[in-house]
Amino acid sequence: MDKNINITVKVWRQAGPKAKGAFETYKLQNISQGSSFLEMLDVLNEQLVNKERKEPIAFDHDCREGICGMCSLYINGHPHGPDTAVTTCQLHMRRFNDGDTITIEPWRSHAFPVIKDLVVDRRAYDKIMQAGGYISVNTGCGVDANAIPISKVAADEAMDAASCIGCGACAAACKNGSAMLFVSAKVSQLALLPQGKVEAARRAKAMLGKMDELGFGNCTNTGACAAECPKSVSLSNIARLNREFICAKLGD
């Protein structure tokens, strides 16, 4: 059964991109274990604003149902916290015990600079997508949706790859700061479908080229990305990306 707990949180506070940051410690009483992790931060912010008349902790969040990819946070050394296969917004306080100290940091990645406190700039992922994360088709050019049958296996596999929410946990978790899991998820999704196969090689090259250019590191197959991915996007996508990339290079 859920009960109320008392906890201590250590939070990274940083006034702006160029400011020097530091951890601040806060005590929280009577947090219901039925509340979500972000609701715990809401309670802390309400306390900061209402009682202490201070600026609240800035953190990214939006849908609060695990799909928009807006929430982030390194919690006790794990992106999206200690649970597997959930985003921070789906993490609940019943995962923590009375008396716990919880450490909260922003994403750790060179390519995601801090904007304020726990908020980071993830526009680099948009730029990788812009480099080639699409099928080149204009509105109105689609043929009848059932004209090209696609095997259920391929469609399901494409769907699994497509479940990536672009949160950035993979790059934040990677010791090299690589965005390979993110890139491979999109490359795989589209390469698995006949519509996307046509420009698969070009896509892989363009997206990887942009990833390198933006300062993301390289992949050394450690697998931290897949282990921390809130949507369980599989490492096999990286293998498929490598295949597409080598084919593309051989064609050069």
Partner: protein
Amino acid sequence: MIQREELLKNGKVVAAIPEGPLAEKWTNYKAHQKLVNPANKRKLDVIIVGTGLAGASAAASLGEMGFHVLNFCIQDSPRRAHSIAAQGGINAAKNYQNDGDSVYRLFYDTIKGGDYRAREANVYRLAEVSNSIIDQCVAQGVPFARDYGGLLDNRSFGGAQVSRTFYAKGQTGQQLLLGAYSALSRQVQKGTVTLYTRYEMLDLVIIDGRARGIIARNLVTGKIERFAAHAVVIGTGGYGNTFFLSTNAMASNGSAAWQVYKKGAWFSNPCYAQIHPTCIPKHGEFQSKLTLMSESLRNDGRIWVPKKKEDAEAIRAGKLKPTQIPDEDRDFYLERRYPAFGNLVPRDVASRAAKERCDAGFGVNETGLAVYLDFKYAIERLGKDVVAARYGNLFQMYEKIVDDNPYETPMMIFPAIHYTMGGIWVDYELQTSIRGLFAIGEANFSDHGANRLGASALMQGLADGYFVLPYTIQNYLADQIQVPRFSTDRPEFEEAEKAIQDKIDRLMKIQGKRSVDSIHRELGNIMWEYVGMGRTKEGLEKGIALIADLKKVFWSDLFIPGKKADFNVELEKALRLADFLEIGDLMARDALMREESCGGHFREEYQTEEGEALRQDDKFSFASCWEYQGEDAEPKMLKEPLEYEFIKRQTRNYKA
């Protein structure tokens, strides 16, 4: 105040609907509309606010056509727009299941589902373009669910007797949005679309009676910036967060719509808000939002409450488990009341039926504000694996939040605010009552009448963005090719920016004692209590008075910490709440005016003996069009009569 005199005939609003038989209107329109040649398209700028299904698809399509698009969103990426959270699916009249579907039937179901309060011509066009949406999405690589033969699968949804809903697991909105986001990204790469992320529109700029730009706040720096264009499109979604607790994302807001209303755009049917029947019940005072469980669950889940009051009481006290109640003591109230549609009645009907049972004392959960959605029968019939394949991710989500396993014990659900059918008034071309200002997706009012059917929001957002606006906006822009780009140094921009700066200064200077959220929660309670599922004249009048009092508290006792020219979330929220307080007031006024029950609007004074909604077609067969009259003046209401030329209005009946 009225910007477009041609929209008023004999004091009534007309929507510029093309002549001719229903099925030919859109074809005829497209054949005769004005177009812009490719060389001129490059000279024309369009501002699109919002990057959800409607905004992103419109931005991508207009970019592909060669216009220059400035596309704004409040999140850090266009892919985060709240369309992403839609779970169940998207409707289309493909009739791939050979079960009798057609464009006409989708049109008919949508009109009927909307309780005969939507505009015929718009809805027919929506049904007509629905099939192109599916073709477009498949071409973009949207991984819709397929059968073993490699062809697309469908599921059924509330309010329809055919299976016309296309889906991608329980993440259809995500996949459709990512499709539109991909198309948008391609245009950004090509340079036709310029993206402005973490920007929030704060006002509309009108020059010589036409929408020519916006004032926006850079949410990272806090700087107020000016943007000019030949036309402005609002695609910023609905205003459900007026209720504080809703299924909307935390940042979803009605402010862009409200700003254009205050600049003269009519706001239609604000009282039509959809309460979704299958949400996870509220669990505590700290709760920040309500989580929706897809309507698709009603395909296989059976909804019930205990038949005996003492059982319900024992459950509430924690002395009895739902699994201990035998079938004969369970009241499957939807199947009992609506044999023809059963658990698949439309959302408004299902929500009201749940409220009726809970009000009568049969509710479960500690609060008594929940009903069961049970998969025991589906698991017996189909096996656990099939149920897991269909709903696995939803069950996982439920278990994470509630800490109960829905494979073993029934889910608990309760209605919550989900979608707003009302919105900015638009004509057939999706143009508002301000020239050059368009509204698309949930932000407009046009297609769902008083109630939206499940899987139709995605359809409308993409219809507007891919297939309607890209045509109709050209009919406007064709006359603008001689208009040079405007300088943002013009006095109109100067004035609009100053007004915003003054408003922000005023908010920052209050330095009172109340946080934004504490006032917003209070507004939510007023809305739910008096402008919620069951409305009365007395309740609405009380609600209006309470909102007015709360507005005074807001403007006198608010506290915003930090600086205005900085990343300041409290200031962002305060600006939105200032508008929610006014939107709540207009919702209540509209509900008070509408002395009938229809769709999502239920006035307790107007119901049948069996408790069903009772429309007053002779008096209220119109869309209300509210016109702003100034800060302290009552808004004026105009009417757009809803004449049904092609179908006969009936009492909605889901019983037989």
